[in-house]
């Protein structure tokens, strides 16, 4: 029996197809974007860059974006850590931990600007909180503080989901050893626990930094005119003035910090802080619970945040069932009638696009993940890096790149559903790639080698041995594709057309008009649908007895 051929034709053919897709939908748009930004009269030049950065508003926007992203990263990571400590070290009952998870999940699966609606009601000169509750005057609902609050609430769950496994994974023996050396609780925490979390902190911070850097919808609604940020400016430059060049240049400026963050994050992850999560080290002691004195402030912070989140979502729901929030609070279902009649097309389009994107993205994730972990072929690392590119870049860049690349021949895709599907697949399937890689790294390759050794082809082996093993990752990929198809906006807002529109775009449109009720009703619908589908997937995963929920939730970043 021959050994497995080094360059299996099936593998090579699949790799070829993948490169074709990646080349077309990742590299080509990015190249077109850069060309558009730096080609002046047929010559490459950095003139346009200096021209755009010469304008004060753009320099100010860049600075503001970095300030905002840093603050969101820092505060969000701190909050996420508090939540993670509460979940792992406070001996909470299972229902309490479940509530904590559900609460952290809520902002993640909502359209990114849903908290903005509630914030407009709550702060400012007539805000429910600042005015009615606290009696403050002269406050503003717009600017850095409210934008920061909204983004922290939206993105801190990413930090929580990143830090929870890190904390849970710390070998309790380390802490126990420190205790047996008579170190006090605080000292153990400071000198053992915290240092072990540092890579997790870095990872969480960078995730949040990137998420904030890419978010344009929250600042569009909340930042106000005195705190412009870059993604919003790039969006307005393109959609308002149709200044492709200006928009391309601004998104290039955004690309630099995004790439730095992405490379930093890879570097941290490569340092291998997940090694303690193998779970293969025999019976383990339970994690060290925190002393009561430390638990009280922790749980207080968590409860406070829980109340805030619950309050915001309650407000959102309330706005969806009253006639005109702030003026006429009589009950009505009119807004739901509106979204199921006038908004029906958006709902249908969104679900169709999600329906096509899910299997494609899920398959893409598993196939790429499998190939890069299990097969040797030329350009393997290059493929892995390139696949992650659209995931790492702010959506504004991806969307503008697609618009520039596919608006004119040779490849015209604007106006079709295909461009939106392609955008979702190549932007969000990489989370499935990651999940697959993580899953496969826990499976001994000898299983597959046994199969090929007995004469099965590489496809046969993939289907009969590997596929069942990576199913959890596949479903996690499906879940992420679905959630993102229903909630993402930063890239796809550039790609909607007369034929194909999306719920998120409708929400934003409604919010920038007067139609707050329908915006709230749409948001409630999205949350409900996402909860239903992710719940279903979680159930399936439990059937498969695989710890995939974490992969699903934890890969929601970017």
């Amino acid at each position: 029996m021959n050994a497995r051929p080094r360059n299996d034709p099936t593998v090579l053919a699949t790799v070829g197809v993948l490169w074709l897709g990646v080349g077309l939908f990742v590299l080509y748009p990015l190249a077109m974007l850069l060309l558009r930004a730096f080609l002046a009269e047929g010559q490459l030049s950095q003139g346009p860059l200096f021209a755009m950065l010469g304008e004060r508003i753009h320099r100010q926007s860049l600075l503001n974006s970095l300030i905002l992203a840093t603050l969101v990263g820092g505060i969000g990571t701190a909050l996420g850590f508090v939540f993670a400590l509460a979940a792992t070290r406070c001996e909470l009952s299972a229902p309490a931990r479940g509530a904590l998870d559900a609460l952290a999940f809520l902002p993640l699966i909502s359209p990114p600007f849903t908290t903005s609606i509630a914030i407009i009601f709550s702060f400012g000169p007539r805000g429910l909180i600042t005015h009615d509750l606290l009696g403050l005057t002269g406050t503003s609902a717009y600017g850095l503080p409210t934008t920061l609050l909204s983004e922290v609430l939206t993105y801190f769950p990413l930090a929580y989901l990143t830090l929870k496994p890190v904390l849970a994974g710390i070998d309790p023996n380390l802490e126990d050893m420190a205790a047996s050396l008579r170190a006090g609780g605080w000292r153990i925490f400071r000198t053992v626990t915290l240092p072990l979390c540092i890579p997790g902190f870095a990872n969480a911070f960078l995730l949040l930094f990137a998420a904030s850097l890419a978010d344009f919808a929250t600042p569009l609604i909340l930042a106000g005119s005195n705190f412009p940020v870059l993604p919003t400016q790039a969006y307005l430059q393109i959609t308002g003035l149709f200044d492709f060049k200006g928009g391309a240049v601004l998104s290039f400026v955004l690309l630099v910090p995004a790439m730095v963050v992405y490379l930093l994050q890879r570097w941290w992850v490569a340092r291998g802080h997940y090694v303690t999560v193998t779970g293969k080290v025999g019976p383990r002691a339970l994690s060290r619970p925190l002393p009561t004195a430390a638990r009280i402030p922790l749980l207080a912070v968590c409860s406070a945040l829980a109340v805030v989140i619950a309050y915001f979502y309650a407000l959102l729901f309330y706005a969806s069932v009253v006639k005109a929030f702030g003026a006429d609070h009589s009950f009505t279902l009119a807004h739901y009638r509106v979204i199921f009649t006038e908004g029906l097309k958006a709902i249908r389009d969104t679900l169709i696009i999600a329906g096509i994107g899910m299997p494609l993205g899920g398959l893409f994730g598993v196939v790429v993940g499998y190939l890069v972990t299990r097969k040797r072929f030329p350009g393997r690392h290059a493929l892995e890096m390139t696949v992650m590119l659209n995931y790492a870049l702010p959506g504004t860049i991806v969307g503008i790149g697609y618009l520039i690349a596919f608006n004119d021949p040779p490849i015209v895709l604007t106006g079709t559903a295909a461009i939106i599907v392609a955008c979702y697949v190549f932007r969000y399937a990489p989370t499935g790639v990651r999940a697959t890689i993580a899953q496969l790294q826990q499976i001994d390759p000898s299983l597959e080698e046994a199969s090929t050794g007995m004469g099965a082809g590489s496809f046969e082996t993939f289907r009969r041995v590997t596929l069942p093993l990576v199913l959890p990752a596949f479903f996690a990929g499906l879940g992420v594709m679905f959630v993102r198809s229903l909630t993402a906006i930063s890239a796809t807002i550039f790609l909607i057309s007369i034929g194909w529109t999306l719920i998120t775009v409708r929400i934003l449109e409604n919010m920038t008009e007067l139609a707050l009720g329908p915006a709230a009703a749409f948001s409630v619908l999205v949350v409900a649908m996402v909860f239903a589908v992710t719940g279903l997937i979680a159930l399936l995963l439990r059937r498969l007895r695989a710890p995939g929920t974490m992969a699903l939730a934890g890969s929601m970043g970017g």
Binding site: T10, A13, T14, V17, L18, G21, E55, I57, Q60, I120, F121, G124, P125, R126, S140, A141, Y142, L220, G224, S225, P228, L236, I238, T239, G240, L241, F242, K323, A324, F325, G326, A327, D328, E342, I356, P359, L360, L363, V367, D408, V412, L413, G415, T416, A417, A418, I419, A422, F459, R463, I496, S497, I498, G499, T501, E509, T512, E513, L514, A515
Partner: protein
């Protein structure tokens, strides 16, 4: 082998899906600049009357125009529906329309049509000041009666109005300020600079600030009357006033896109929208546009609001050629603030 086939098959499926043809029924594609809640009843009435199916997507006027310009090589729509005259004048300059003179053309006042038939008006929409009553009472102010009233310190960081990059409301506002300053750009921009500290937020849509003003999160702003009266009708306690120096009104237009794929259906919509058939529907749907057609009476309560106001039309012959430059100047000088 199957894996690859699946991938390819999926790819083909995707391509076939993208190429799904439009339905057999006669259809028409449009970008609407009017918000959905006003455009939809109008277009549905047209569908019922003509049997033509209308697909439409709503954009702010700047966004809609930008899309039409970008799609010039391969137009995706047949009709640009609604939106202030300056948008249409700019579109004429960009050569994105083709002429069509509807039956009502001869009856319309000169300012309600392009002489060459490139666009025709379907309504008239004056700008107004809209202020929150409670805000006024708290600051012991009257509803503003002059442009200069908006410079009162009480308005600092309390006004919301539209962003000129995306919104025709904003462009109409800027041309109003130019007009009351005798088209002296230096003077007009100086006024806007002095008003800038009062601006809390420049909104993407023209009506974007109405809700915050209604809620009292902003003190006031400058809006089209149709948005302002809608806010009031929803129950928010706001006041509508007009500056004594005068304020602009913008004809709301409709135009046939050059290279439209369904020109006949498009012409039918234009004929219908410029006639009393559509404009008599405004009152029934509580849409506070002033009809452009002379045979349609303005709804009495709307007429009462407008009775003593000094309103002047935005001159498209002046606004069209200057729009781009003025917006750019606004972006560079006013938007960044002090």
């Amino acid at each position: 082998m199957l894996a690859r086939r699946t991938l390819i098959g999926a790819g083909l499926g995707l391509a076939a899906f993208a190429a799904l043809p439009a339905q057999a029924q006669q259809t028409l594609n449009a970008y609407s600049i009017w918000p959905e809640n006003w455009a939809r009843p109008m277009l549905e009435a047209f569908e019922k009357q003509s049997g033509i199916k209308v697909n439409f997507l709503r954009f702010s006027s700047g966004e809609a125009l930008a899309r039409v310009i970008a799609e010039k090589g391969n137009p995706r729509i047949d009709v640009l529906f609604g939106g202030p005259v300056e948008t249409f004048a700019a579109g004429v300059k960009e050569d994105v329309f083709q002429p069509h003179k509807p039956p009502a053309f001869g009856e319309l006042a000169a300012r309600f049509k392009d002489a060459g038939g490139m666009w025709t008006a379907i309504a008239d929409d004056p700008l107004v000041f809209m202020t929150n009553s409670k805000f006024l009472a708290d600051n012991k102010l009257q509803a503003p009666q002059s442009w200069n009233d908006l410079l009162h310190p009480a308005y600092k960081n309390m006004l919301q109005m539209a962003d000129a990059r995306t919104s025709g409301t904003a462009v109409t506002r800027i041309f109003s300020i130019l007009e009351v300053n005798g088209r002296d750009e230096a003077k007009a921009f100086d006024f806007m600079k002095r008003m800038r500290p009062s601006i809390q937020l420049y909104t993407k849509s023209g009506g974007g600030g109405t809700l915050p003003v209604g809620l009292g999160q902003a003190g006031g702003g400058i809006f089209f009357i149709v948005d302002a009266l809608d806010t009031k009708a929803k129950g928010y306690d706001v006041q509508i006033s007009f500056p004594k120096e005068g304020i602009g009104t913008a004809a709301e237009g409709i135009a046939l896109i050059k290279g439209a794929k369904n020109p006949e259906a498009g012409k039918k919509l234009i004929d219908w929208a410029t006639s009393p058939a559509m404009q008599t529907l405004f009152a029934a749907h509580k849409i506070n546009f002033v009809p452009a057609h002379p045979k349609v009476a303005t709804e009495p309560s709307l007429a009462a609001v407008l009775k003593d106001a000094k309103i002047f039309p935005i001159d498209d012959a002046y606004a069209g050629p200057n729009r781009k430059r003025v917006v750019e100047r606004w972006v560079n000088e006013i938007l960044p603030g002090g």
